[in-house]
Symmetry: C2
Subunit: 302 residues, 2 copies
Protein backbone atom coordinates (compact mmCIF):
# COMPACT_ATOMS: atom_id res chain seq x y z
CA UNK A 1 0.00 0.00 0.00
CA UNK A 2 1.29 3.42 -0.93
CA UNK A 3 0.82 6.52 1.16
CA UNK A 4 -0.97 9.63 -0.01
CA UNK A 5 2.29 11.51 -0.45
CA UNK A 6 4.33 9.13 -2.53
CA UNK A 7 1.82 8.00 -5.15
CA UNK A 8 3.64 6.33 -8.00
CA UNK A 9 1.38 5.27 -10.88
CA UNK A 10 3.81 2.74 -12.29
CA UNK A 11 4.09 0.96 -8.94
CA UNK A 12 0.31 1.21 -8.44
CA UNK A 13 -0.51 -0.30 -11.84
CA UNK A 14 2.06 -3.05 -11.41
CA UNK A 15 0.81 -3.94 -7.90
CA UNK A 16 -2.81 -4.05 -9.00
CA UNK A 17 -1.97 -6.00 -12.16
CA UNK A 18 -0.22 -8.64 -10.03
CA UNK A 19 -3.30 -8.94 -7.79
CA UNK A 20 -5.60 -9.28 -10.81
CA UNK A 21 -3.29 -11.82 -12.47
CA UNK A 22 -3.23 -13.96 -9.33
CA UNK A 23 -7.01 -13.82 -9.06
CA UNK A 24 -7.47 -14.73 -12.73
CA UNK A 25 -5.16 -17.69 -12.20
CA UNK A 26 -7.42 -18.88 -9.38
CA UNK A 27 -10.76 -18.14 -11.05
CA UNK A 28 -10.00 -19.62 -14.46
CA UNK A 29 -10.24 -23.39 -14.85
CA UNK A 30 -7.12 -25.51 -15.23
CA UNK A 31 -6.71 -27.11 -18.66
CA UNK A 32 -7.97 -30.62 -17.99
CA UNK A 33 -10.85 -32.91 -18.88
CA UNK A 34 -12.57 -33.34 -22.25
CA UNK A 35 -12.71 -29.56 -22.89
CA UNK A 36 -8.92 -29.31 -22.43
CA UNK A 37 -8.26 -27.46 -25.70
CA UNK A 38 -11.05 -24.97 -25.06
CA UNK A 39 -9.70 -24.09 -21.62
CA UNK A 40 -6.16 -23.82 -23.00
CA UNK A 41 -7.41 -21.38 -25.66
CA UNK A 42 -9.37 -19.36 -23.07
CA UNK A 43 -6.30 -19.10 -20.83
CA UNK A 44 -3.95 -18.30 -23.72
CA UNK A 45 -5.62 -14.99 -24.52
CA UNK A 46 -6.32 -14.05 -20.90
CA UNK A 47 -2.64 -14.47 -20.06
CA UNK A 48 -1.27 -12.93 -23.28
CA UNK A 49 -0.04 -9.76 -21.59
CA UNK A 50 -3.06 -7.53 -21.02
CA UNK A 51 -2.63 -4.31 -19.04
CA UNK A 52 -5.68 -5.21 -16.89
CA UNK A 53 -6.96 -1.66 -17.31
CA UNK A 54 -10.62 -2.60 -16.78
CA UNK A 55 -10.05 -4.65 -13.60
CA UNK A 56 -7.79 -1.91 -12.22
CA UNK A 57 -10.46 0.72 -12.96
CA UNK A 58 -13.03 -1.44 -11.15
CA UNK A 59 -10.77 -1.79 -8.11
CA UNK A 60 -9.87 1.92 -8.19
CA UNK A 61 -13.55 2.85 -8.50
CA UNK A 62 -14.28 0.81 -5.39
CA UNK A 63 -11.35 2.31 -3.44
CA UNK A 64 -12.28 5.83 -4.52
CA UNK A 65 -15.57 5.53 -2.62
CA UNK A 66 -13.69 4.21 0.41
CA UNK A 67 -14.12 0.43 0.20
CA UNK A 68 -11.59 -2.40 -0.14
CA UNK A 69 -10.70 -3.20 -3.75
CA UNK A 70 -10.08 -6.85 -2.86
CA UNK A 71 -13.82 -7.26 -2.27
CA UNK A 72 -14.63 -6.71 -5.95
CA UNK A 73 -11.94 -8.91 -7.52
CA UNK A 74 -14.41 -11.41 -9.09
CA UNK A 75 -16.19 -8.60 -10.94
CA UNK A 76 -12.88 -6.94 -11.85
CA UNK A 77 -11.68 -10.23 -13.37
CA UNK A 78 -15.02 -10.81 -15.11
CA UNK A 79 -14.52 -7.48 -16.91
CA UNK A 80 -11.14 -8.71 -18.15
CA UNK A 81 -12.76 -11.92 -19.45
CA UNK A 82 -15.31 -9.88 -21.39
CA UNK A 83 -12.56 -7.67 -22.80
CA UNK A 84 -10.53 -10.73 -23.79
CA UNK A 85 -13.49 -12.45 -25.48
CA UNK A 86 -14.10 -9.28 -27.52
CA UNK A 87 -10.47 -9.25 -28.70
CA UNK A 88 -10.58 -12.93 -29.72
CA UNK A 89 -13.77 -12.51 -31.77
CA UNK A 90 -12.51 -9.16 -33.13
CA UNK A 91 -9.32 -10.77 -34.43
CA UNK A 92 -11.13 -13.60 -36.29
CA UNK A 93 -10.75 -13.68 -40.10
CA UNK A 94 -14.46 -12.81 -40.61
CA UNK A 95 -13.89 -9.69 -38.49
CA UNK A 96 -10.59 -7.75 -38.43
CA UNK A 97 -8.48 -10.76 -39.50
CA UNK A 98 -5.51 -9.95 -37.28
CA UNK A 99 -2.54 -12.29 -36.85
CA UNK A 100 -0.85 -10.44 -34.04
CA UNK A 101 -2.14 -9.15 -30.69
CA UNK A 102 0.10 -7.81 -27.93
CA UNK A 103 3.10 -9.16 -29.86
CA UNK A 104 1.75 -12.71 -29.90
CA UNK A 105 -0.11 -14.76 -32.50
CA UNK A 106 -3.85 -14.23 -32.16
CA UNK A 107 -6.03 -16.97 -30.67
CA UNK A 108 -7.27 -18.45 -33.95
CA UNK A 109 -3.69 -18.51 -35.31
CA UNK A 110 -2.72 -20.83 -32.45
CA UNK A 111 -5.91 -22.85 -31.87
CA UNK A 112 -7.85 -22.56 -35.12
CA UNK A 113 -10.98 -20.56 -35.83
CA UNK A 114 -13.55 -22.94 -34.36
CA UNK A 115 -11.75 -23.19 -31.02
CA UNK A 116 -11.12 -19.42 -30.94
CA UNK A 117 -14.81 -18.74 -31.54
CA UNK A 118 -15.75 -21.09 -28.69
CA UNK A 119 -13.00 -19.72 -26.42
CA UNK A 120 -14.59 -16.28 -26.84
CA UNK A 121 -18.05 -17.70 -26.13
CA UNK A 122 -16.66 -19.52 -23.10
CA UNK A 123 -14.98 -16.40 -21.69
CA UNK A 124 -18.06 -14.22 -22.13
CA UNK A 125 -20.24 -16.80 -20.41
CA UNK A 126 -17.72 -17.42 -17.62
CA UNK A 127 -17.60 -13.67 -16.96
CA UNK A 128 -21.25 -13.85 -15.91
CA UNK A 129 -20.67 -17.00 -13.88
CA UNK A 130 -17.86 -15.20 -12.06
CA UNK A 131 -19.61 -11.91 -11.38
CA UNK A 132 -22.67 -13.63 -9.92
CA UNK A 133 -20.68 -15.72 -7.44
CA UNK A 134 -22.13 -14.41 -4.22
CA UNK A 135 -19.82 -16.79 -2.32
CA UNK A 136 -16.82 -14.82 -3.59
CA UNK A 137 -18.56 -11.46 -3.24
CA UNK A 138 -19.64 -12.16 0.32
CA UNK A 139 -19.18 -8.60 1.59
CA UNK A 140 -21.51 -7.19 -1.06
CA UNK A 141 -25.30 -7.35 -1.09
CA UNK A 142 -26.95 -9.49 -3.77
CA UNK A 143 -28.93 -6.39 -4.83
CA UNK A 144 -25.73 -4.57 -5.76
CA UNK A 145 -24.23 -7.63 -7.47
CA UNK A 146 -27.37 -7.97 -9.57
CA UNK A 147 -27.40 -4.27 -10.44
CA UNK A 148 -23.77 -4.41 -11.56
CA UNK A 149 -24.26 -7.61 -13.55
CA UNK A 150 -27.12 -6.01 -15.46
CA UNK A 151 -25.11 -2.84 -16.06
CA UNK A 152 -22.12 -4.77 -17.40
CA UNK A 153 -24.37 -6.89 -19.65
CA UNK A 154 -25.82 -3.67 -21.07
CA UNK A 155 -22.35 -2.22 -21.64
CA UNK A 156 -21.10 -5.40 -23.34
CA UNK A 157 -24.12 -6.10 -25.55
CA UNK A 158 -25.94 -4.50 -28.45
CA UNK A 159 -26.42 -1.24 -26.52
CA UNK A 160 -22.64 -1.02 -26.02
CA UNK A 161 -19.64 -3.01 -27.17
CA UNK A 162 -21.31 -5.33 -29.70
CA UNK A 163 -23.30 -2.37 -31.05
CA UNK A 164 -20.08 -0.40 -31.57
CA UNK A 165 -18.46 -3.42 -33.17
CA UNK A 166 -21.15 -3.86 -35.82
CA UNK A 167 -20.97 -0.21 -36.83
CA UNK A 168 -17.16 -0.42 -36.89
CA UNK A 169 -17.25 -3.45 -39.19
CA UNK A 170 -19.83 -1.83 -41.46
CA UNK A 171 -17.78 1.38 -41.66
CA UNK A 172 -14.60 -0.22 -42.96
CA UNK A 173 -13.59 1.27 -46.28
CA UNK A 174 -16.36 3.87 -46.14
CA UNK A 175 -16.01 7.59 -45.51
CA UNK A 176 -17.55 8.21 -42.11
CA UNK A 177 -18.41 11.46 -40.42
CA UNK A 178 -17.50 12.53 -36.91
CA UNK A 179 -20.70 11.35 -35.12
CA UNK A 180 -20.29 7.81 -36.47
CA UNK A 181 -16.68 7.59 -35.32
CA UNK A 182 -17.72 8.93 -31.93
CA UNK A 183 -20.52 6.34 -31.77
CA UNK A 184 -18.08 3.52 -32.51
CA UNK A 185 -15.57 4.71 -29.91
CA UNK A 186 -18.05 5.36 -27.12
CA UNK A 187 -19.74 2.01 -27.71
CA UNK A 188 -16.99 -0.39 -28.77
CA UNK A 189 -14.50 0.60 -26.05
CA UNK A 190 -16.06 3.35 -23.96
CA UNK A 191 -19.09 1.50 -22.61
CA UNK A 192 -17.12 -1.33 -20.95
CA UNK A 193 -14.50 1.08 -19.56
CA UNK A 194 -17.23 3.26 -18.08
CA UNK A 195 -18.98 0.27 -16.54
CA UNK A 196 -15.66 -0.99 -15.15
CA UNK A 197 -15.06 2.04 -12.98
CA UNK A 198 -18.79 2.50 -12.25
CA UNK A 199 -19.23 -1.13 -11.17
CA UNK A 200 -16.40 -0.73 -8.66
CA UNK A 201 -18.03 2.39 -7.25
CA UNK A 202 -21.46 0.73 -7.03
CA UNK A 203 -20.12 -2.41 -5.34
CA UNK A 204 -18.08 -0.22 -2.99
CA UNK A 205 -21.27 1.44 -1.82
CA UNK A 206 -20.88 4.81 -3.52
CA UNK A 207 -23.82 7.21 -3.22
CA UNK A 208 -25.74 8.73 -6.14
CA UNK A 209 -23.56 11.82 -6.56
CA UNK A 210 -20.38 9.75 -6.31
CA UNK A 211 -21.67 7.35 -8.96
CA UNK A 212 -22.58 10.23 -11.21
CA UNK A 213 -19.09 11.74 -10.89
CA UNK A 214 -17.34 8.43 -11.46
CA UNK A 215 -19.56 7.53 -14.41
CA UNK A 216 -18.79 10.90 -15.99
CA UNK A 217 -15.07 10.22 -15.40
CA UNK A 218 -15.47 6.79 -17.04
CA UNK A 219 -17.18 8.18 -20.14
CA UNK A 220 -14.44 10.78 -20.64
CA UNK A 221 -11.49 8.43 -20.21
CA UNK A 222 -13.19 5.68 -22.21
CA UNK A 223 -13.34 7.95 -25.23
CA UNK A 224 -9.89 9.43 -24.56
CA UNK A 225 -8.46 5.92 -24.35
CA UNK A 226 -9.83 4.94 -27.75
CA UNK A 227 -8.56 8.18 -29.30
CA UNK A 228 -5.11 7.39 -27.90
CA UNK A 229 -5.39 3.96 -29.55
CA UNK A 230 -6.04 5.69 -32.88
CA UNK A 231 -3.08 8.04 -32.32
CA UNK A 232 -0.77 5.16 -31.33
CA UNK A 233 -1.72 3.41 -34.55
CA UNK A 234 -0.17 6.37 -36.38
CA UNK A 235 2.64 7.48 -34.08
CA UNK A 236 3.37 4.36 -32.02
CA UNK A 237 6.18 1.84 -32.32
CA UNK A 238 5.07 -1.61 -33.55
CA UNK A 239 7.38 -3.40 -31.11
CA UNK A 240 6.12 -1.43 -28.13
CA UNK A 241 2.39 -1.71 -28.86
CA UNK A 242 2.69 -5.34 -29.98
CA UNK A 243 0.74 -5.01 -33.20
CA UNK A 244 1.40 -3.55 -36.60
CA UNK A 245 1.36 0.24 -36.73
CA UNK A 246 -0.72 1.62 -39.57
CA UNK A 247 -3.18 -1.27 -39.40
CA UNK A 248 -6.16 1.11 -39.24
CA UNK A 249 -5.10 2.92 -42.39
CA UNK A 250 -4.40 -0.36 -44.17
CA UNK A 251 -7.93 -1.56 -43.33
CA UNK A 252 -9.31 1.85 -44.30
CA UNK A 253 -10.80 2.29 -40.85
CA UNK A 254 -12.19 5.67 -40.06
CA UNK A 255 -10.57 6.94 -36.85
CA UNK A 256 -10.48 10.20 -34.88
CA UNK A 257 -7.37 11.41 -36.72
CA UNK A 258 -9.09 10.61 -40.05
CA UNK A 259 -12.15 12.75 -39.33
CA UNK A 260 -10.66 15.40 -37.01
CA UNK A 261 -6.97 15.45 -37.92
CA UNK A 262 -4.11 14.37 -35.65
CA UNK A 263 -3.66 17.74 -33.94
CA UNK A 264 -7.35 18.21 -33.20
CA UNK A 265 -7.62 14.62 -31.96
CA UNK A 266 -4.88 15.31 -29.43
CA UNK A 267 -6.67 18.46 -28.31
CA UNK A 268 -9.97 16.58 -27.87
CA UNK A 269 -8.16 13.86 -25.97
CA UNK A 270 -6.46 16.34 -23.64
CA UNK A 271 -9.76 18.13 -22.98
CA UNK A 272 -11.47 14.81 -22.16
CA UNK A 273 -8.73 13.91 -19.69
CA UNK A 274 -8.99 17.32 -18.00
CA UNK A 275 -12.76 17.00 -17.77
CA UNK A 276 -12.41 13.46 -16.41
CA UNK A 277 -10.12 14.67 -13.65
CA UNK A 278 -12.44 17.57 -12.94
CA UNK A 279 -15.36 15.13 -12.52
CA UNK A 280 -13.52 13.77 -9.48
CA UNK A 281 -13.11 17.12 -7.71
CA UNK A 282 -15.35 16.13 -4.79
CA UNK A 283 -13.14 13.17 -3.91
CA UNK A 284 -10.09 13.19 -1.63
CA UNK A 285 -6.70 11.51 -2.13
CA UNK A 286 -8.41 8.17 -2.64
CA UNK A 287 -9.31 9.27 -6.18
CA UNK A 288 -5.63 9.88 -6.96
CA UNK A 289 -5.22 6.56 -8.86
CA UNK A 290 -8.16 7.46 -11.13
CA UNK A 291 -6.74 10.94 -11.74
CA UNK A 292 -3.34 9.53 -12.59
CA UNK A 293 -4.78 6.81 -14.82
CA UNK A 294 -6.56 9.58 -16.78
CA UNK A 295 -3.23 11.36 -17.35
CA UNK A 296 -1.53 8.09 -18.24
CA UNK A 297 -3.88 7.70 -21.21
CA UNK A 298 -2.17 10.62 -22.94
CA UNK A 299 1.32 9.52 -21.96
CA UNK A 300 1.06 5.81 -22.73
CA UNK A 301 3.19 4.27 -25.47
CA UNK A 302 1.23 0.99 -25.75
CA UNK B 1 -55.88 -22.39 -18.36
CA UNK B 2 -56.67 -26.07 -18.63
CA UNK B 3 -58.18 -28.15 -15.90
CA UNK B 4 -56.52 -31.19 -14.37
CA UNK B 5 -58.84 -33.57 -16.21
CA UNK B 6 -58.52 -32.37 -19.77
CA UNK B 7 -54.80 -31.83 -20.15
CA UNK B 8 -53.92 -31.52 -23.81
CA UNK B 9 -50.19 -31.22 -24.52
CA UNK B 10 -50.63 -29.71 -27.95
CA UNK B 11 -52.82 -26.94 -26.59
CA UNK B 12 -50.49 -26.45 -23.61
CA UNK B 13 -47.36 -26.12 -25.78
CA UNK B 14 -49.11 -23.80 -28.20
CA UNK B 15 -50.46 -21.56 -25.39
CA UNK B 16 -47.10 -21.33 -23.67
CA UNK B 17 -45.27 -20.73 -26.97
CA UNK B 18 -47.59 -17.80 -27.68
CA UNK B 19 -46.87 -16.31 -24.24
CA UNK B 20 -43.11 -16.71 -24.76
CA UNK B 21 -43.27 -15.26 -28.27
CA UNK B 22 -45.15 -12.20 -27.04
CA UNK B 23 -42.63 -11.70 -24.24
CA UNK B 24 -39.68 -12.06 -26.60
CA UNK B 25 -41.26 -9.46 -28.86
CA UNK B 26 -41.39 -7.05 -25.91
CA UNK B 27 -37.96 -7.83 -24.46
CA UNK B 28 -35.99 -7.76 -27.70
CA UNK B 29 -35.01 -4.36 -29.09
CA UNK B 30 -36.68 -2.98 -32.21
CA UNK B 31 -34.41 -2.74 -35.24
CA UNK B 32 -33.48 0.92 -35.15
CA UNK B 33 -30.47 3.15 -34.58
CA UNK B 34 -26.88 2.62 -35.72
CA UNK B 35 -26.88 -1.08 -34.73
CA UNK B 36 -29.94 -1.71 -36.92
CA UNK B 37 -28.45 -4.65 -38.83
CA UNK B 38 -27.24 -6.33 -35.67
CA UNK B 39 -30.68 -6.16 -34.07
CA UNK B 40 -32.32 -7.39 -37.27
CA UNK B 41 -29.97 -10.38 -37.29
CA UNK B 42 -30.61 -11.09 -33.60
CA UNK B 43 -34.37 -10.99 -34.15
CA UNK B 44 -34.23 -13.07 -37.32
CA UNK B 45 -32.95 -16.17 -35.56
CA UNK B 46 -35.03 -15.68 -32.42
CA UNK B 47 -38.20 -15.54 -34.53
CA UNK B 48 -37.22 -18.28 -36.99
CA UNK B 49 -39.71 -20.78 -35.64
CA UNK B 50 -38.24 -22.25 -32.46
CA UNK B 51 -40.37 -24.60 -30.38
CA UNK B 52 -39.50 -22.59 -27.22
CA UNK B 53 -38.81 -25.84 -25.38
CA UNK B 54 -36.39 -24.25 -22.88
CA UNK B 55 -38.68 -21.34 -21.91
CA UNK B 56 -41.64 -23.72 -21.62
CA UNK B 57 -39.60 -26.03 -19.38
CA UNK B 58 -38.67 -23.04 -17.21
CA UNK B 59 -42.32 -21.99 -16.90
CA UNK B 60 -43.44 -25.58 -16.28
CA UNK B 61 -40.71 -26.02 -13.65
CA UNK B 62 -42.01 -22.95 -11.86
CA UNK B 63 -45.65 -24.07 -12.08
CA UNK B 64 -44.78 -27.58 -10.92
CA UNK B 65 -43.64 -26.19 -7.55
CA UNK B 66 -46.87 -24.17 -7.33
CA UNK B 67 -45.89 -20.68 -8.49
CA UNK B 68 -47.05 -18.55 -11.41
CA UNK B 69 -45.12 -19.17 -14.62
CA UNK B 70 -45.64 -15.57 -15.74
CA UNK B 71 -43.30 -14.44 -12.96
CA UNK B 72 -40.29 -16.12 -14.57
CA UNK B 73 -40.83 -15.01 -18.18
CA UNK B 74 -37.64 -12.90 -18.39
CA UNK B 75 -35.50 -15.88 -17.38
CA UNK B 76 -37.50 -18.19 -19.65
CA UNK B 77 -36.85 -15.85 -22.60
CA UNK B 78 -33.18 -15.44 -21.64
CA UNK B 79 -32.81 -19.21 -21.99
CA UNK B 80 -34.21 -18.99 -25.52
CA UNK B 81 -31.70 -16.24 -26.37
CA UNK B 82 -28.83 -18.44 -25.17
CA UNK B 83 -30.18 -21.37 -27.18
CA UNK B 84 -30.52 -19.17 -30.28
CA UNK B 85 -27.00 -17.73 -29.95
CA UNK B 86 -25.63 -21.28 -29.75
CA UNK B 87 -27.44 -22.24 -32.96
CA UNK B 88 -26.13 -19.17 -34.84
CA UNK B 89 -22.52 -19.83 -33.85
CA UNK B 90 -22.97 -23.56 -34.42
CA UNK B 91 -24.15 -22.98 -37.99
CA UNK B 92 -21.18 -20.75 -38.95
CA UNK B 93 -18.84 -22.05 -41.67
CA UNK B 94 -15.95 -22.51 -39.18
CA UNK B 95 -18.26 -24.73 -37.11
CA UNK B 96 -20.94 -26.98 -38.67
CA UNK B 97 -21.31 -24.88 -41.83
CA UNK B 98 -25.08 -25.28 -42.13
CA UNK B 99 -27.16 -23.39 -44.69
CA UNK B 100 -30.55 -24.36 -43.36
CA UNK B 101 -32.10 -24.22 -39.89
CA UNK B 102 -35.77 -24.84 -39.17
CA UNK B 103 -36.41 -24.69 -42.91
CA UNK B 104 -34.92 -21.19 -43.27
CA UNK B 105 -31.51 -19.93 -44.39
CA UNK B 106 -29.12 -19.77 -41.43
CA UNK B 107 -28.20 -16.41 -39.95
CA UNK B 108 -24.86 -15.99 -41.74
CA UNK B 109 -26.48 -16.92 -45.07
CA UNK B 110 -28.79 -13.92 -44.68
CA UNK B 111 -26.61 -11.38 -42.85
CA UNK B 112 -23.05 -12.50 -43.52
CA UNK B 113 -20.60 -14.16 -41.16
CA UNK B 114 -19.41 -11.07 -39.27
CA UNK B 115 -22.95 -9.96 -38.42
CA UNK B 116 -23.98 -13.51 -37.51
CA UNK B 117 -21.02 -13.82 -35.15
CA UNK B 118 -21.96 -10.52 -33.48
CA UNK B 119 -25.67 -11.40 -33.41
CA UNK B 120 -24.73 -14.50 -31.41
CA UNK B 121 -22.53 -12.45 -29.08
CA UNK B 122 -25.32 -9.91 -28.69
CA UNK B 123 -27.94 -12.54 -27.86
CA UNK B 124 -25.73 -14.29 -25.30
CA UNK B 125 -24.98 -10.98 -23.59
CA UNK B 126 -28.59 -9.81 -23.73
CA UNK B 127 -29.66 -13.06 -22.08
CA UNK B 128 -27.73 -12.02 -18.97
CA UNK B 129 -29.08 -8.47 -19.16
CA UNK B 130 -32.59 -9.91 -19.26
CA UNK B 131 -32.28 -12.49 -16.52
CA UNK B 132 -30.82 -9.96 -14.06
CA UNK B 133 -33.65 -7.45 -14.54
CA UNK B 134 -35.00 -7.32 -11.02
CA UNK B 135 -37.60 -4.78 -12.19
CA UNK B 136 -39.17 -7.48 -14.36
CA UNK B 137 -38.64 -10.22 -11.81
CA UNK B 138 -40.17 -8.20 -8.99
CA UNK B 139 -41.89 -11.11 -7.28
CA UNK B 140 -38.62 -13.00 -6.92
CA UNK B 141 -35.84 -12.32 -4.41
CA UNK B 142 -32.52 -11.04 -5.76
CA UNK B 143 -30.81 -13.99 -4.02
CA UNK B 144 -32.76 -16.45 -6.16
CA UNK B 145 -32.23 -14.43 -9.35
CA UNK B 146 -28.49 -14.38 -8.70
CA UNK B 147 -28.43 -18.11 -7.95
CA UNK B 148 -30.24 -18.91 -11.19
CA UNK B 149 -28.08 -16.54 -13.25
CA UNK B 150 -24.95 -18.29 -11.98
CA UNK B 151 -26.45 -21.71 -12.64
CA UNK B 152 -27.40 -20.82 -16.21
CA UNK B 153 -23.94 -19.31 -16.86
CA UNK B 154 -22.40 -22.59 -15.67
CA UNK B 155 -24.71 -24.61 -17.90
CA UNK B 156 -23.99 -22.44 -20.96
CA UNK B 157 -20.22 -22.13 -20.56
CA UNK B 158 -17.15 -24.37 -20.65
CA UNK B 159 -18.61 -26.63 -17.96
CA UNK B 160 -21.69 -27.21 -20.10
CA UNK B 161 -22.78 -26.20 -23.59
CA UNK B 162 -19.52 -24.68 -24.89
CA UNK B 163 -17.60 -27.61 -23.38
CA UNK B 164 -19.85 -30.06 -25.22
CA UNK B 165 -19.50 -28.06 -28.40
CA UNK B 166 -15.69 -28.18 -28.45
CA UNK B 167 -15.67 -31.95 -27.96
CA UNK B 168 -18.32 -32.31 -30.67
CA UNK B 169 -16.25 -30.28 -33.15
CA UNK B 170 -13.09 -32.22 -32.29
CA UNK B 171 -14.89 -35.54 -32.71
CA UNK B 172 -16.08 -34.97 -36.26
CA UNK B 173 -14.75 -37.64 -38.58
CA UNK B 174 -13.23 -39.60 -35.70
CA UNK B 175 -14.43 -42.88 -34.25
CA UNK B 176 -15.74 -42.05 -30.79
CA UNK B 177 -16.72 -44.38 -27.98
CA UNK B 178 -19.94 -44.27 -25.99
CA UNK B 179 -18.67 -42.12 -23.05
CA UNK B 180 -17.54 -39.35 -25.42
CA UNK B 181 -20.90 -39.27 -27.22
CA UNK B 182 -22.65 -39.20 -23.86
CA UNK B 183 -20.37 -36.33 -22.74
CA UNK B 184 -21.22 -34.32 -25.85
CA UNK B 185 -24.95 -34.89 -25.48
CA UNK B 186 -25.17 -34.18 -21.75
CA UNK B 187 -23.08 -31.02 -22.13
CA UNK B 188 -23.98 -29.56 -25.52
CA UNK B 189 -27.75 -29.89 -25.11
CA UNK B 190 -28.46 -31.50 -21.76
CA UNK B 191 -26.94 -28.87 -19.46
CA UNK B 192 -29.09 -25.97 -20.70
CA UNK B 193 -32.25 -28.09 -20.77
CA UNK B 194 -31.60 -29.21 -17.19
CA UNK B 195 -30.98 -25.65 -16.03
CA UNK B 196 -34.12 -24.47 -17.84
CA UNK B 197 -36.46 -26.62 -15.80
CA UNK B 198 -34.35 -26.26 -12.63
CA UNK B 199 -34.24 -22.45 -12.88
CA UNK B 200 -38.03 -22.34 -13.05
CA UNK B 201 -38.28 -24.53 -9.97
CA UNK B 202 -35.73 -22.42 -8.06
CA UNK B 203 -37.39 -19.12 -8.97
CA UNK B 204 -40.76 -20.63 -8.08
CA UNK B 205 -39.49 -21.30 -4.58
CA UNK B 206 -39.12 -25.06 -4.78
CA UNK B 207 -37.56 -26.78 -1.75
CA UNK B 208 -34.40 -28.92 -1.82
CA UNK B 209 -36.15 -32.25 -2.48
CA UNK B 210 -38.30 -30.68 -5.20
CA UNK B 211 -35.22 -29.20 -6.88
CA UNK B 212 -33.46 -32.53 -6.71
CA UNK B 213 -36.40 -34.30 -8.36
CA UNK B 214 -36.78 -31.68 -11.07
CA UNK B 215 -33.03 -31.55 -11.78
CA UNK B 216 -33.02 -35.33 -12.15
CA UNK B 217 -35.98 -35.02 -14.54
CA UNK B 218 -34.08 -32.36 -16.50
CA UNK B 219 -30.95 -34.49 -16.87
CA UNK B 220 -32.94 -37.45 -18.16
CA UNK B 221 -35.04 -35.54 -20.68
CA UNK B 222 -32.04 -33.45 -21.79
CA UNK B 223 -30.21 -36.58 -22.85
CA UNK B 224 -33.36 -38.20 -24.25
CA UNK B 225 -34.02 -35.07 -26.31
CA UNK B 226 -30.59 -35.15 -27.92
CA UNK B 227 -30.90 -38.86 -28.65
CA UNK B 228 -34.23 -38.16 -30.36
CA UNK B 229 -32.41 -35.50 -32.44
CA UNK B 230 -29.93 -38.17 -33.53
CA UNK B 231 -32.77 -40.55 -34.36
CA UNK B 232 -34.69 -37.90 -36.30
CA UNK B 233 -31.56 -37.25 -38.33
CA UNK B 234 -31.85 -40.85 -39.55
CA UNK B 235 -35.60 -41.49 -39.59
CA UNK B 236 -37.09 -38.01 -39.86
CA UNK B 237 -38.54 -36.16 -42.80
CA UNK B 238 -36.41 -33.22 -44.04
CA UNK B 239 -39.45 -31.06 -44.66
CA UNK B 240 -40.86 -31.66 -41.19
CA UNK B 241 -37.64 -31.12 -39.22
CA UNK B 242 -36.56 -28.19 -41.40
CA UNK B 243 -33.02 -29.33 -42.05
CA UNK B 244 -31.40 -31.97 -44.19
CA UNK B 245 -31.83 -35.52 -42.95
CA UNK B 246 -28.59 -37.49 -42.90
CA UNK B 247 -26.51 -34.39 -42.08
CA UNK B 248 -24.85 -36.12 -39.13
CA UNK B 249 -23.73 -39.05 -41.26
CA UNK B 250 -22.55 -36.72 -44.00
CA UNK B 251 -20.41 -34.80 -41.50
CA UNK B 252 -19.25 -38.10 -40.01
CA UNK B 253 -20.60 -37.11 -36.62
CA UNK B 254 -20.65 -39.77 -33.99
CA UNK B 255 -24.15 -40.06 -32.58
CA UNK B 256 -26.02 -42.39 -30.24
CA UNK B 257 -27.19 -44.59 -33.12
CA UNK B 258 -23.56 -44.78 -34.36
CA UNK B 259 -22.16 -46.08 -31.08
CA UNK B 260 -25.18 -47.93 -29.69
CA UNK B 261 -27.23 -48.82 -32.77
CA UNK B 262 -30.67 -47.46 -33.63
CA UNK B 263 -32.65 -50.06 -31.67
CA UNK B 264 -30.57 -49.73 -28.51
CA UNK B 265 -30.71 -45.90 -28.77
CA UNK B 266 -34.50 -46.06 -28.77
CA UNK B 267 -34.42 -48.36 -25.74
CA UNK B 268 -32.10 -45.98 -23.86
CA UNK B 269 -34.30 -43.05 -24.79
CA UNK B 270 -37.46 -44.79 -23.60
CA UNK B 271 -35.79 -45.74 -20.31
CA UNK B 272 -34.65 -42.14 -19.77
CA UNK B 273 -38.16 -40.84 -20.35
CA UNK B 274 -39.62 -43.37 -17.90
CA UNK B 275 -37.02 -42.46 -15.29
CA UNK B 276 -37.68 -38.76 -15.86
CA UNK B 277 -41.39 -39.25 -15.24
CA UNK B 278 -40.62 -41.38 -12.19
CA UNK B 279 -38.46 -38.54 -10.77
CA UNK B 280 -41.65 -36.49 -10.53
CA UNK B 281 -43.63 -39.07 -8.52
CA UNK B 282 -43.86 -36.82 -5.44
CA UNK B 283 -45.64 -34.05 -7.41
CA UNK B 284 -49.37 -33.72 -8.00
CA UNK B 285 -51.22 -32.82 -11.22
CA UNK B 286 -49.15 -29.65 -11.53
CA UNK B 287 -46.27 -31.77 -12.82
CA UNK B 288 -48.46 -33.12 -15.62
CA UNK B 289 -46.99 -30.75 -18.27
CA UNK B 290 -43.46 -31.96 -17.44
CA UNK B 291 -44.59 -35.60 -17.58
CA UNK B 292 -46.25 -35.06 -20.94
CA UNK B 293 -43.29 -33.12 -22.34
CA UNK B 294 -41.09 -36.11 -21.45
CA UNK B 295 -43.34 -38.45 -23.43
CA UNK B 296 -43.49 -35.96 -26.31
CA UNK B 297 -39.72 -36.29 -26.77
CA UNK B 298 -40.18 -39.83 -28.04
CA UNK B 299 -43.21 -38.99 -30.16
CA UNK B 300 -41.97 -35.76 -31.77
CA UNK B 301 -41.40 -35.60 -35.51
CA UNK B 302 -39.34 -32.38 -35.49
Amino acid sequence: MQSEQAFNLKVYLSEKKAIVDRALEIYLPKPEGPAYDLIRAMRYSVFAGGKRLRPILCIAGCETVGSAGADVLPVACALELIHTYSLIHDDLPVMDDDDLRRGKPTNHKVFGEATALLAGDGLLTEAFALMTRSDLLERISTDLILKVTGMIAHAAGYRGMVGGQIVDIQSEGKVMDFPVVEFIHTHKTGALITSSVASGAILGGGDESQLEAITSYGRKIGLAFQISDDILDIEGDSKTIGKNVGADEQKRKTTYPTVAGLGRSKEIQLKLVEEAIDSLRAFDYRAEPLRRVARYIIERKK
